[in-house]
C-alpha cells in the first residue's frame, strides 16, 4: 500500500472582499510509494509548497482527500517528519533539546529521549555539539540539526521543503551528498523521502521519480522515472538528458510531459507558446522581474555567440536557480526579445538590438515592445489618457488585479507594472500619494 495518497485534491483560497476564489492547486492526484525518493519539481507559483503542506496535514484541502496508509487524514500526520527550508530551529533550545522536541511532544521518558537524540545527532555528524545553541552553528550545521530532529522520530516518510536552498552552493552540495549516501547505504531512518525543490539537478540527483508541477493553477504536468543506478552519476548521458529535458519542459508551459527521455532532442517538437487572449489584460500575470534583470540576461546571451544558448548551461554559468532564471526568460519572451525552444534561448532581432544599444534607444525599444505586447501596460496608459487630470490612484488598478489574484500577488503585479511602466516612461508613480500619472 502507498504510504501517502493524494486523491483529487484541490486548494482554493478566498479572494478578499468576497470576490470569488483563487485556485492554488487544481485536482492533484499523487502517491508516495514505499522505498522511493520522490521529488516535486516546480517553479514558484506552482503550489508545490501548498501541496507539501496539504500532504503533511498542515493545511486542509478544499476538495479531495489525503490518505496515510489508506486511512483518511485529519490534522498533522504523525507518520512523517519535515525538514524546513529555514531550518525552523528554536533558537533558545540547545541542539539536543531541539532534536528532542518531537519526542517530548510524544511524552517519551527523559532517559530514552536523550539516548535517541544522541543517536540521531551522531548520524548527522554533530556529536560534540549537543549543548551548542543554534546561533553558534553555521547554516549547514543548523540544517543537520533539522535532519536529526526529523530522523529521531523514525518517520515513515521524510518531507523536505527545499532543504538545501538556504545554504551556500558548496555546503548544499556537501550535505546533499551525505543525505544521498545515507539513503543509498540502506540505513536511512525513514522508508521514503518526499523532497520539494525548484533545483532541477538536485531533483534528478536525489530522486527515483520526479513529478513536474505546472503553474496557475498548480497541477501535475507529468512525471519521469530517473532509472539510473544509485548514486546517480551526474556525468551519465541519461542524467544530462533528463536535466535538459526538464529544462525544456519547464521553460515551455504548454508542451506535454511524456516522461520518455532519450536525448536532448527527444522533446516532441514543441510549438511556441500561443498567447492566450482570453479575458481582461489584468488577468494575465506579469513575470516579477526588473527591467535591469532582463537587459542583463539579454546582454549575456548576446555576448555568447558560439554557444547554442542552452538554458541549463546558461543557468550554470550565471549560478542562477530556475526560480530566478525562468521569470527573466518569460519576460524576455513576453516582450518579444527572445524565443525559447527545445531548452535553448535565442534572441530576436529586436532583442539583439535592445541588448547592445544605448540606454535611450533601449528605452524606446522597450516602450514599443511593452505597448505592443503587454496589454496590461497599454490598458493602464489608456485609462490614464481618458482621465482629465491624466492621473489615477493606484488603488484603482490594484482593485482590478485583486479580482484575479490574492492581494499579495496583486500588489506584486502592480509593483512590476510600475517598474516596467516607469522604465518605458509610459507613466509615472507617486509613492506617497499612491498615484499613477502620465508624464507631462
Amino acid at each position: 500500500m502507498d504510504l501517502i495518497t493524494v486523491d483529487h485534491v484541490s486548494k482554493r483560497f478566498p479572494l478578499p472582499d468576497g470576490k470569488g476564489e483563487f485556485t492554488v492547486l487544481g485536482d492533484v492526484t499523487l502517491s508516495v510509494h514505499r522505498g522511493e525518493v520522490l521529488a516535486l519539481l516546480g517553479r514558484s507559483g506552482s503550489g508545490k509548497s501548498t501541496l507539501l503542506r496539504i500532504m503533511s496535514g498542515l493545511i486542509r484541502p478544499s476538495q479531495g482527500e489525503v490518505r496515510s496508509n489508506g486511512i483518511p487524514m485529519r490534522g498533522a500526520n504523525p507518520n512523517l517528519a519535515m525538514v524546513f527550508q529555514s531550518f525552523a530551529l528554536l533558537p533558545w533550545l540547545t541542539v539536543q533539546e531541539n532534536v528532542e522536541l518531537g519526542l517530548a511532544a510524544r511524552h517519551v521518558p527523559l532517559a530514552e529521549r536523550q539516548e535517541r537524540a544522541l543517536k540521531a545527532i551522531d548520524i548527522v555528524g554533530l556529536d560534540g555539539f549537543e549543548n551548542a545553541y543554534p546561533k553558534e552553528l553555521s547554516g549547514g550545521m543548523k540544517q543537520r540539526v533539522g535532519f536529526a530532529r526529523a530522523f529521531v522520530l523514525n518517520p515513515e516518510v521524510l518531507f523536505m521543503d527545499e532543504p538545501f536552498s538556504a545554504l551556500d552552493v558548496l555546503t548544499a552540495e556537501n550535505l546533499r551528498g551525505e543525505i544521498d549516501d545515507l539513503w543509498n547505504a540502506g540505513t536511512f531512518p525513514s522508508k521514503s523521502i518526499l523532497i520539494v525543490t525548484h533545483n532541477i539537478e538536485e531533483a534528478v540527483y536525489l530522486a527515483d521519480r520526479v513529478v513536474i508541477l505546472g503553474s496557475k493553477p498548480g497541477r501535475i504536468r507529468g512525471e519521469l522515472q530517473v532509472n539510473l543506478p544509485r548514486p546517480h552519476d551526474r556525468n551519465h548521458p541519461r542524467f544530462k538528458a533528463l536535466v535538459d529535458y526538464i529544462y525544456s519542459v519547464m521553460t515551455n508551459p504548454d508542451i506535454a510531459v511524456t516522461g520518455e527521455v532519450e536525448g536532448p532532442e527527444s522533446g516532441a517538437g514543441p510549438e511556441p507558446s500561443p498567447q492566450r487572449n482570453s479575458g481582461s489584460p489584468f488577468s494575465r500575470p506579469l513575470p516579477h522581474v526588473r527591467v535591469g534583470g532582463i537587459s542583463g540576461l539579454l546582454e549575456l546571451v548576446a555576448e555568447k555567440r558560439d554557444a547554442d544558448g542552452s538554458i541549463p548551461q546558461l543557468a550554470q554559468r550565471l549560478q542562477l536557480e530556475v526560480d530566478d532564471l525562468l521569470p527573466l526568460l518569460d519576460a524576455a519572451v513576453l516582450l518579444g526579445f527572445a524565443e525559447v525552444a527545445d531548452g535553448d534561448v535565442r534572441l530576436t532581432a529586436i532583442g539583439r538590438d535592445f541588448a547592445s544599444t544605448t540606454i535611450l534607444r533601449s528605452k524606446d525599444l522597450f516602450r514599443q515592445q511593452a505597448l505592443g505586447r503587454v496589454p496590461v501596460l497599454s490598458s493602464i496608459v489608456h485609462t490614464l489618457q481618458e482621465k482629465e487630470n491624466r492621473a489615477m490612484r493606484s488603488d484603482f488598478f490594484l482593485g482590478i488585479w485583486d479580482d484575479y489574484f490574492p492581494l499579495q500577488e496583486a500588489e506584486r503585479q502592480l509593483a512590476t507594472a510600475v517598474d516596467w511602466g516607469r522604465y518605458a516612461e509610459l507613466f509615472e508613480f507617486d509613492a506617497i500619494e499612491g498615484r499613477l500619472y502620465l508624464p507631462s
Binding site: 504523525p78 524546513f84 533558537p91 533558545w92 510524544r106 511524552h107 527523559l110 543554534p134
Partner: protein, 575 residues
C-alpha cells in the same frame, strides 16, 4: 563555524564557592524582607476612625519604600498573568480578537488616575476592616498603568511568530501547552520584558499618586513612600522630601540592578535571530548566578517536577488544533455580529441617557471646553519639549560614548516619579507668582519630557554613519542638515516618544492641574483639575463625565494625529 565552546561554559567548574554563599544569603534576605513587609498590610483599619498614619522620621523610609516596592511587584505579577491570558486568547481566537483588541486600545487611553476613586471605594468594601482594600486599590492602579502595554506587546509577538516555527511545532505534534512554553513565550520574551521594564518605571508615578488619596471626602493613607511624600507636603517639610527623593533613587537603582539587569541578560537567549549578535547585555548578578552551583542544582532537581507539569498541562489544554480554522457558518457569524452591534447600541443608549439625565448638555459643553484647555497644555508641552530636548538628544546620539554614558541616566530620570518633584515646583510657583495654568505645563513636562529625549537619542543613533558622512561631504550645514538628514532620520523615533509623552501628560494632568503646599492649594482650569475636584467631592456623575471626556480626547488625539504621523513615518521615513 564556531567549533570552540563558549568561554562561559568553561568557567562552569569548581566546587561550592563564594558565589553560592552569596546566592543563599541573598535569597534568605529577600524572603525576610517580603515576609516583614507583607505582614504590614494586615494592620487594623476601620475608616474613618482608625486609619494608619505616616511618620516623617526618615528612619522609617526603608520600610515605607519596601512596602511600595512590594506593591509594584505584586502589580507586575498580576499584569504578567493578565497579559499572558488576554494576549493568548486574543491571538488564538478570531472572534475574541475582534472584541479584545479594540477594547485594549480604548482601555489604554483611559486615564488611570481618574479610575482610582472608583476602585478605592470598591476595594475597601471588598476587604472591610483591613488595609487590604486600600492595598488592592493601589496595586490595581499600578496594574492598570502597566498592563495594557504589556498585553499589546505580547499579542503582537504571538501574531508574528515565524510561520515555519509554528508549522514545525504543529508537525512535531506539540501540545498547546508545549507550544506556549517552547515557542510562543520564548519568542515574545524580549519585547515583553522591555515593555514590562518601561511600564514598571512609569508605575512609580502611580504608586506615589495612589498611596495617599482623598476620595469621597475621605483622606486615605496607605503607608508607603508615596504617602510619606504626601505627609511631607502637608507638613511643609523640605528635609523629609529630600530624604524621600534620595530613597526613591536608591530603590530604582536597586530594582534595576537586582531585578531587571539580570533578566535582560538572561533573556538574550530568546533572540529570534539565529546568528550570534554583537554585544550581549551584561549583569553582575546574572554572572554570579551562572557561576554559582545552587541554581543549577535546583534546576536539575526540579526537572522531574517540570516534566510532570508539562504532561499535566498538555493533557489539560489538549493538542494544537488544525492549522487553519474552519470558517464559521455564515449564520453563526451574522449572529455574532448582531450581538456585537446590540451591545454597542446598548452602551451608546446608556451613555446618552446618562448625559441627559445626570449631568446635562451644558455641563458636557463645559467639560469639553476644559478638555480643549488641557489639550492646549499637552500640545504646548510637546512642542516645547521637542524644541528643547531634540537638539540635545541628537547631539548625544551622534556621540556613541556619550550616549552609552547618558542613556541609563535618561532611563532613570524617566522612571523617577515626577510627582516627587512637584512640591519643589509648587513652592517655586508660589514664590515667583507663576499662575498654575502655565505652571502645570511644567509639572506635566517633568515626567513626559524624558520620553522625547530618550527617543531623540535612540533615533539619532539609528541614522547610519554613512549618511552623516555623506551630509558632511556634500556640505549640508545648519538648518539644511536638520531638514534633509536629521528630522527625517529621527522622525519615527520622535513619533514613538511623542505618543508616550502625550499619554503620560494626559494622565499627569489630573495631579498637576491641582497642587498644594501645606495649606496653599493652586488649581488651574482644565480637565485634569475637573476630574481631581470631582473625585475629592465624590461626585460620581462628574467623575464619569470627566474620565469619559478625557478618554475621548486621548483616543481622538491618537487617531487623528499620532496614527497619521505613525503611518507617515512607516511609509516615508523608515530607515
Amino acid at each position: 563555524m564556531k567549533p570552540l565552546p563558549e568561554p562561559e561554559s568553561l568557567r562552569r567548574s569548581g566546587s561550592f564557592g563564594l558565589a553560592d554563599l552569596a546566592v543563599i544569603l541573598g535569597v534568605l534576605a529577600l524572603l525576610g524582607v517580603v515576609a516583614h513587609v507583607g505582614a504590614g498590610s494586615m494592620v487594623s483599619f476601620r475608616p474613618p476612625d482608625v486609619s494608619p498614619t505616616v511618620s516623617l522620621d526618615p528612619r522609617n523610609l526603608p520600610d515605607y519604600a519596601a512596602r511600595s516596592t512590594l506593591r509594584m511587584f505584586i502589580a507586575l505579577a498580576a499584569s504578567l498573568l493578565f497579559t499572558l491570558v488576554y494576549g493568548w486568547v486574543a491571538a488564538h481566537n478570531r472572534r475574541a480578537e475582534r472584541v479584545l483588541v479594540p477594547l485594549l486600545d480604548i482601555l489604554q487611553s483611559v486615564p488611570v488616575l481618574g479610575f482610582l476613586s472608583i476602585t478605592v471605594t470598591g476595594f475597601i468594601a471588598l476587604f472591610p476592616g483591613s488595609l487590604l482594600g486600600l492595598e488592592a486599590a493601589s496595586i490595581f492602579a499600578i496594574f492598570t498603568s502597566q498592563v495594557w502595554n504589556m498585553t499589546f506587546s505580547f499579542y503582537q509577538s504571538l501574531r508574528t511568530v515565524p510561520k515555519e516555527l509554528g508549522e514545525a511545532t504543529t508537525l512535531y505534534r506539540l501540545s498547546r501547552w508545549q507550544r506556549f512554553t517552547r515557542l510562543e513565550l520564548p519568542s515574545a520574551a524580549i519585547p515583553l520584558l522591555w515593555n514590562a521594564m518601561m511600564s514598571f518605571g512609569g508605575g512609580w508615578f502611580f504608586v506615589a499618586a495612589s498611596e495617599a488619596i482623598s476620595v469621597l471626602n475621605h483622606d486615605y493613607t496607605l503607608p508607603g513612600i508615596g504617602s510619606y511624600v504626601a505627609a511631607a507636603i502637608a507638613a511643609q517639610d523640605l528635609r523629609a522630601l529630600g530624604w524621600a527623593m534620595a530613597t526613591m533613587a536608591v530603590v530604582i537603582l536597586l530594582v534595576d540592578q537586582i531585578f531587571w539587569r539580570p533578566l535582560v541578560a538572561w533573556s538574550d537567549r530568546f533572540r529570534l535571530e539565529l546568528s550570534a549578535s554583537g554585544d550581549a547585555p551584561e549583569s553582575w548578578l546574572y554572572d554570579l548566578l551562572t557561576t554559582a552551583h545552587i541554581p543549577r542544582l535546583v534546576a536539575a532537581a526540579s526537572t522531574p517536577v517540570l516534566e510532570g507539569v508539562d504532561r499535566l498541562m498538555s493533557a489539560l489544554l489538549g493538542p494544537v488544533q488544525d492549522h487553519e480554522e474552519q470558517p464559521a457558518p455564515p449564520g453563526q457569524e451574522r449572529l455574532f455580529n448582531l450581538a456585537l452591534l446590540v451591545l454597542i447600541g446598548a452602551l451608546l443608549a446608556a451613555l446618552i441617557h446618562f448625559v441627559l439625565t445626570r449631568v446635562g448638555l451644558a455641563e458636557v459643553a463645559t467639560v469639553f471646553r476644559l478638555g480643549l484647555l488641557t489639550l492646549a497644555r499637552v500640545s504646548l508641552l510637546l512642542v516645547l519639549a521637542t524644541l528643547i530636548w531634540t537638539p540635545i538628544g541628537v547631539a548625544i546620539g551622534f556621540h556613541p560614548r556619550l550616549a552609552r554614558l547618558l542613556q541609563p541616566l535618561v532611563q532613570f530620570l524617566a522612571s523617577f516619579p515626577a510627582n516627587f518633584i512637584f512640591p519643589f515646583a509648587t513652592l517655586f510657583f508660589i514664590h515667583s507668582h507663576i499662575p498654575i495654568g502655565w505652571g502645570s505645563i511644567l509639572l506635566m513636562a517633568l515626567g513626559a519630557q524624558w520620553y522625547i529625549l530618550f527617543n531623540a537619542i535612540a533615533g539619532a543613533q539609528t541614522i547610519p554613519s554613512d549618511l552623516r558622512e555623506m551630509a558632511d561631504d556634500v556640505g549640508l550645514k545648519g538648518l539644511q542638515r536638520w531638514r534633509k538628514l536629521i528630522i527625517p532620520g529621527i522622525f519615527s523615533a520622535w513619533v514613538t516618544g511623542g505618543v508616550t509623552a502625550s499619554g503620560g501628560a494626559w494622565n499627569a494632568s489630573i495631579v498637576s492641574e491641582v497642587v498644594s503646599w501645606g495649606t496653599t492649594t493652586l488649581a488651574a482650569s482644565g480637565l485634569g483639575a475637573y476630574i481631581a475636584e470631582a473625585t475629592g467631592r465624590g461626585d460620581w456623575p462628574r467623575i464619569a463625565l470627566g474620565i469619559g471626556m478625557m478618554s475621548l480626547f486621548v483616543v481622538g488625539f491618537n487617531r487623528f494625529f499620532w496614527r497619521r504621523l505613525y503611518d507617515l513615518a512607516e511609509r516615508r521615513y523608515h530607515l
